[in-house]
């Protein structure tokens, strides 16, 4: 961590000296188990940059902030953050010309639960690419142990798939009925890039598809439609689940879809460049249509 922090400060200093307007990194929070995004514009503030065990926040989403348009930005991205960044580039949401990226070889981070117990972050346990290898500058030790194999990362999904339909429904009903519709999952998601959310503006003046009535169906609709909108885009950075104040296992929904996409459509979990259409943007006649009567059988 100290190596990363020192390198981060060094690069940030060089960046500001060489004309960048703002550096986005992390600094320590109030408690040892916190870390928060840092926006540095002054050389004097560089010493506040700190990468610690809890620097989970995926910073790439901040590139969408309208205040940062046309600014020259330096940003630190871990393996998962970088995957999200690439998607933003694919979807023309950011201009790479204005962005200097420094990669972080992520050693795997920790999370702290409501009761104060800490453990290896779940998202890190699933992670297959902790090091953004493609980047020119990578700080930290490049040899990082992968915590689980590609197939093992779907353990949770498989466990759920093994349940009967009504058991699965009960499970999700139990989880989603805790939702308070704070929209933190959507707002923190680096790939929820729409400026107006079509499924939940959360306001009575807009013609939302769903409203805020405390109906399970409405909350369920919100989460499932959001998952579908992220199909083929979600990079499993785990932000949504991390921020959820009521611990809804949102990543499981996204991972179920990712698992299906990999199996049914033989697509990479995330397109590497914009020549590959996302699974929901592409239609082929021989696409399998599981669950639909009359459609082709599950591949």
């Amino acid at each position: 961590m100290e190596i990363i922090t020192n390198a981060m400060r060094q690069l940030a200093r060089e960046g500001l000296e060489n004309g960048l307007d703002i550096i986005i990194g992390w600094k320590d929070g109030r408690f040892e188990w916190q870390s928060k995004p840092a926006f540095i514009t002054e050389i004097n503030d560089i010493e506040s940059l700190n990468f610690n065990n809890y620097s989970l926040k995926n910073l790439s989403g901040y590139l969408l902030k309208k205040e940062l348009k046309d600014k020259k930005i330096g940003i630190f991205l871990k393996g998962c953050d970088y995957k999200a960044y690439k998607q933003l580039v694919n979807y023309n949401q950011v201009d790479p010309e204005n962005i200097q990226i420094w990669g972080i070889a992520c050693p795997g981070l920790k999370e702290r639960d409501f009761h104060g117990n800490t453990s290896n972050a779940e998202r890190c346990q699933r992670c297959q690419e902790p090091v953004p290898e493609e980047l020119e500058t990578i700080i930290g030790k490049k040899e990082v142990a992968i915590q689980n194999s590609p197939e093992d990362k779907y353990q949770d999904v498989k466990k759920l798939e093994s349940l009967a339909t009504d058991e699965r429904f009960d499970y999700w009903k139990d989880q989603i009925s805790d939702c308070i519709r704070c929209y933190a999952c959507r707002n923190t998601c680096p790939l929820c890039e729409c400026t107006t959310c079509m499924i939940a503006g959360g306001d009575s003046n807009s013609d939302d598809w769903i409203d805020s009535a405390k109906e399970f169906s409405q909350d369920f609709f919100f989460h499932s439609i959001r998952a579908f909108h992220q199909a083929g885009r979600c990079v499993d950075c785990g932000e949504c689940e991390e921020v959820c104040p009521v611990d809804i296992p949102i990543s499981k929904i996204n991972n179920k879809i990712r698992h299906d996409i990999e199996n049914l459509y033989e697509m990479p979990e995330v397109a590497d460049d914009d020549s590959v259409m996302g699974p929901l943007l592409d239609f082929r006649e021989d696409d399998p249509e599981p669950g639909s009567k009359g459609g082709k059988e599950n591949a």
């Binding site: 009575s204 003046n205 807009s206 013609d207």
Partner: protein, 277 residues
């Protein structure tokens, strides 16, 4: 009546009894209760929450005089509720609750000269006071009414403005449009420019201003420059509201809630408030 029946969020029932198309996107609705009277008593400048389920509720200033036997609302079609209102027919029922907010202190205006300045749909709340004052004409001094709109087709209550009001004793109406057509004989230009030309004396005069925020800002500034005491300049604020009773938090500005502590404020009160957005 049980306690529950007094719930402030429960709308009463009202009927649309007449509709007049004023401009391309503004209609004036006459509203009565089911027995043909006024849905409730109010004072000039107060507002009512109109209810059109399932589109929802929205708050509007009452444009008719409190002395009239019914209520009128001039409503511009801008959003979900207002577009639903624009679909209403005579005979349709709506929900209504109120009155909300503080009124213009018409009792304090007695014997004073009054200068009304309205921009566009901002005339709606002013009309309530103007008609009240003109009905009790002897209690007030000279009345000047300055109205401005984008074009001559955007005046609401055009006939009343051009024909009824100027007939009243000691009452002058001054009209201006941002963009004149060939047949326009009045002033062309923005209201602050027109005010400069009209050059009203602030002596013994109260100014009552309503219009878009930017117009209010410049008019109030101009009035102050020409010597009006900020305590003698009255205006109404518009903010999004849901409950109308100072609880939902939406129209909070400083320690005030526009729905109950406003919408009428003097420029003096506003000076400490408006920046607290």
């Amino acid at each position: 009546m049980t306690e529950i029946a007094k719930d402030p969020l429960l709308p009463g029932k009202a009927i649309i009894t007449a509709i007049r198309q004023d401009t391309e996107d503004i209609k004036t609705y006459q509203v009565r209760d089911v027995n043909g009277g006024k849905p409730f008593d109010f004072e000039p400048g107060q507002c009512a929450m109109l209810s059109l389920p399932p589109a929802g509720e929205a708050i509007f200033s009452i444009t008719s005089s409190p002395l009239a036997e019914m209520m009128e609302f001039s409503i511009k079609n801008v959003g979900r509720v207002t577009s639903e209102i624009h679909n209403l027919k005579v005979g349709d029922q709506i929900g209504i609750r109120g009155p909300y907010g503080t009124p213009f202190p018409v009792a304090d205006f007695q014997k004073d000269d009054l200068l009304f300045i309205g921009g566009g749909i901002g005339l709606a709340p002013l009309r309530s006071v103007i008609n009240y004052v003109l009905k009790k004409r002897d209690n007030y001094g000279k009345v000047d009414i300055v109205c401005g709109c984008r074009t001559c087709n955007d005046f609401v209550h055009y006939e009343e403005i051009t024909e009824e009001w100027p007939q009243k004793p000691e009452t002058d109406v001054h009209l201006t449009v941002d963009k004149a057509t060939d047949d326009w004989t009045g002033f062309e230009g923005y209201i602050p420019d027109y005010l400069e030309e009209l050059n009203f004396s602030p002596a013994e005069k109260k100014a009552i201003v309503c219009g878009p925020p930017i117009m209010i800002k410049f008019v109030v500034q101009q009035l102050k420059e020409s010597g009006f005491d900020p305590a003698d300049i009255y205006t109404t604020l518009e903010l999004k509201m849901k409950c109308g009773i100072g609880k939902c938090g939406r129209c909070n500005i400083g320690s005030k809630y526009v729905c109950k502590d406003g919408p009428v404020f003097t420029a003096k009160e506003l000076a400490g408030l408006i920046e607290t957005f």
